[in-house]
Amino acid sequence: MMPTLRAASLRHLLRHPAQLALALIGLTLGVGTIVAVDVATASSQRAFELSLQAVNGAATHQITGGPRGIDERLYPQLRTHANAGAPLRFAPLVTGYVGVGERTMQLLGVDPFAAAQLAGEGQVAAAPDPATEGVEGLRRWFSEPGAVVMSAATARQLGLAVNSRFDVTVGGVRQRATLIGRIEDAGAGFDAALLTDIAQAQEWLGRVGRLSRIDVRASGGAPEAALAWLRAQLPADLELHTTRAAARESFAMTDAFTTNLKAMSLLALLVGTFLIYGR
């Protein structure tokens, strides 16, 4: 830049300190807004990914039905008829949303034995692992009405200790729940998850005899043949799809939200620019 032009620009800025300060504040706010929105979006997307991972666990595929879900009798049929050597594992799941205080949480009704089998070695199951939980814990899980488990971090935020009793609102109806265990180091994906026995979830959500989905893990050699067999077993109103496809659909849904946030932050920057240079 030429010395005289540089001098002209600098002197103009120094002669109008208030305008310079406002311009800097405006730019800072505008850039700050964009960065904040980007960080918030990235964080929420990461949290969403973790939640999906927590809910999906080690499943590679999912069997889903329409709004009415899946007849629970399908699950034992699949387990019974799957070849002993077939590389397929199944875990039933009942999900829904419940309120705990001011918070909305995802209720996950699981079969801990099936979930542990599906998770396999080295994976985190979305339920207490019967191999590592105490017998007393398992007894309470299956026999105590309203027994639930949540992440230790969430329990702390809600001020709940083990054996605390609290209300859960399901479809406007209050239910009594007991925190029988906390999952330490559960990760951010479990922050909004409330785990309970599958039968308890069916009762609270009014879906007795129905499943939300059946998680499937295809592993080992030639899973394609096993998956083809599985497809053939499913009634016409049920679908077998990969968890990746389900995640893609979920992310596509959140893309609109992300775009809105970005548009809002850019609009904030544009308005800031007009405010500064419109003077």
Binding site: M2, P3, T4, L5, A7, A8, S9, R11, H12, R15
Partner: protein
Amino acid sequence: MRTMLIVRSLSRSFREGGRVHQVLDGADAQVRCGETVAVTGRSGSGKSTLLNLISGIDRADRGTVEIDGRDVTAMGEPARTLFRRAHIGFVYQFFNLIPTLDVEENVRLVLELNGARGAQARERSLAALADVDLRERAHSAVDQLSGGEQQRVAIARALVHRPGLLLADEPTGNLDEQTAAEVLPVLLSLARARGTTVVIVTHDLALSRLADRVLELREGRLHDAAAPRARAS
């Protein structure tokens, strides 16, 4: 004598709502090297548009402008900008000095835009200021100068890079009669001393009398007006 400026069949129209306003409609003119020509005409007759077309700031609908043998209308925008910067000087009614630069810096800016730097540029700008009797005000702020002094700075700035063509748009329009009478001879004598061709757009009869020739812009065309009665000394 060589011809500095040739305007051929120059046309320019503007749209105003649904109406087309034909400002220039086939204007022709030739100005010789070192000649001073005043362009007169009623308000809105297209005098400033003519200057903008000659300098290449605006583009004509039809016609050509040649300056010192080069067709300005055939040049692209960057080439026109560089040509204008090097070969044309401007004097405006409202001076258009940069308030954040002092007097000498305002003049030097033109030299820096044309590639001159440092002491050489400074010396040339001070010499140009001496020509308009403002050497001692070189480091004053421009807003501390009177209107006449500001216009003299503008004249120094317009001539410092020794352009072949000087375009002046109502150079006395913002000055009182007495100041205009002081400033005009400075402008014209410096231009004549350097052999600079001058095209002045003006309403000022006194100014047009000082020109070598007067062209009247009427109905979009340039017409030779009555010969001026007086000449600048």
